[in-house]
Symmetry: C2
Subunit: 230 residues, 2 copies
């Protein structure tokens, strides 16, 4: 009884409830800089603007608060806390977590994961030749995902994903430069080698430096001169 008519996927909006939808919306606004540090988020006003009640909005704000992007003072208001400094620290957090994941991957990796990683690197080499930026972004994701899989660390993976502050646009901007693409590929290759050698210290070190250079480059582009040196 297999129906031959392919069903079109449902509207992504429907996949989430209001809370998740709003959470993603506000998070993106904060990360992208549209909502700046110190800006006030009035529960009633925001809920009205979004055409929803305050209940799901409050829950979304609690999530953002738990993520450290917003601070709420009782009966005073919610304020955006994300700024250039925090963006830098989020890069440090990403570096710390991702490098720990790489360490675990080097410890636990199996043949199937090695295959998937080397296969992804081959695809990257191809995409690099024709400078297919969108494909490179997707492959980058695939590469890091494969390492996450190899590490067997679900919780760390989740924690690390909370530190993401990239969006597709700024990503494209960075990879538009040839030397950035080449550096990225070189680093990915080196990380793979370290993991494949089961060298935990080396894998951790290379992953940390990879995340740090990429993260610093990103912060520079988004926050510009606001970014304090560290």
């Amino acid at each position: 009884m297999n129906e031959q008519v392919p069903l079109s996927p449902v509207d992504p909006w429907m996949l989430k409830n209001l809370r998740e939808h709003v959470h993603g919306l506000v998070r993106k606004a904060i990360i992208s800089g549209r909502l700046k540090a110190g800006e006030k988020l009035n529960e009633r006003r925001l809920a009205t603007e979004l055409g929803i009640s305050t209940t799901p909005l409050k829950e979304a704000l609690r999530q953002l608060e738990a993520e450290g992007l917003v601070r709420t003072e009782a009966r005073r208001g919610s304020y955006v806390t994300f700024n250039a400094r925090q963006a830098e620290e989020m890069t440090l957090a990403r570096a710390a977590l991702e490098s720990m994941i790489a360490r675990q991957a080097a410890k636990h990796i199996e043949k199937s994961h090695v295959l998937r990683l080397s296969e992804t690197l081959e695809q990257m080499k191809s995409a690099l030749l024709v400078a297919d930026l969108n494909e490179l972004i997707a492959l980058n994701e695939k590469f890091h995902d494969a390492i996450h899989e190899a590490s067997g660390c679900q919780y760390l993976r989740r924690l690390q994903s909370n530190q993401r502050m990239y969006n597709h646009e700024t990503r494209l901007l960075v990879l538009a430069e040839a030397h950035e693409r080449e550096r990225s590929f070189r680093e990915h290759t080196a990380i793979f080698e370290a993991i494949n050698l089961r060298d935990q210290d080396l894998a951790e070190k290379r992953m940390r430096e990879h995340v740090m250079t990429a993260g610093e480059e990103h912060v520079r582009r988004v926050f510009g001169s606001q970014a304090l040196g560290d």
Copy 2:
């Protein structure tokens, strides 16, 4: 017009709102193992038991969800997800973050922080001699706090505090053994030395190993044989 009558501190309960109060309550229940993995948290029932409405409870659950201790499925229920494996990964996360903080501390530390750290180590030495366990626990906190201050990383600090799964009782249990107290002191001293030498790599390495051994010991005691080897 300074009033001489010392005011007694207000009931800690009053310092928090219901949401924060409930959040801490449920978190502690989960971390301590009183609420086990897979257990269902019925919003209405729990709210009634606590004598509150569902609104603040829902917000508390959203926070716990953001922390990865609970998973909520729409119109199906909220479930505890914290288990032995996650406890192990939280130790890894603590190790990753705390060692990154130690690295930053080694990079940025100033004289005043060095003084505070060496002073704390002296106090630890004294408390170690008389085996004052409660004092040792407090000093441990003070030592790590001082490193956090020295690092200048507020966001990392916050993130790291979310990985805490200790409570005073199990802490006492561990420190009840003399060799654990001595090992702890030895490691703290070594960490201080590395930071004072501004050796980032060494500080990171020593802090990671310190957190890992302490964390593994803790997980062993709380989860016992459930803890899978890694």
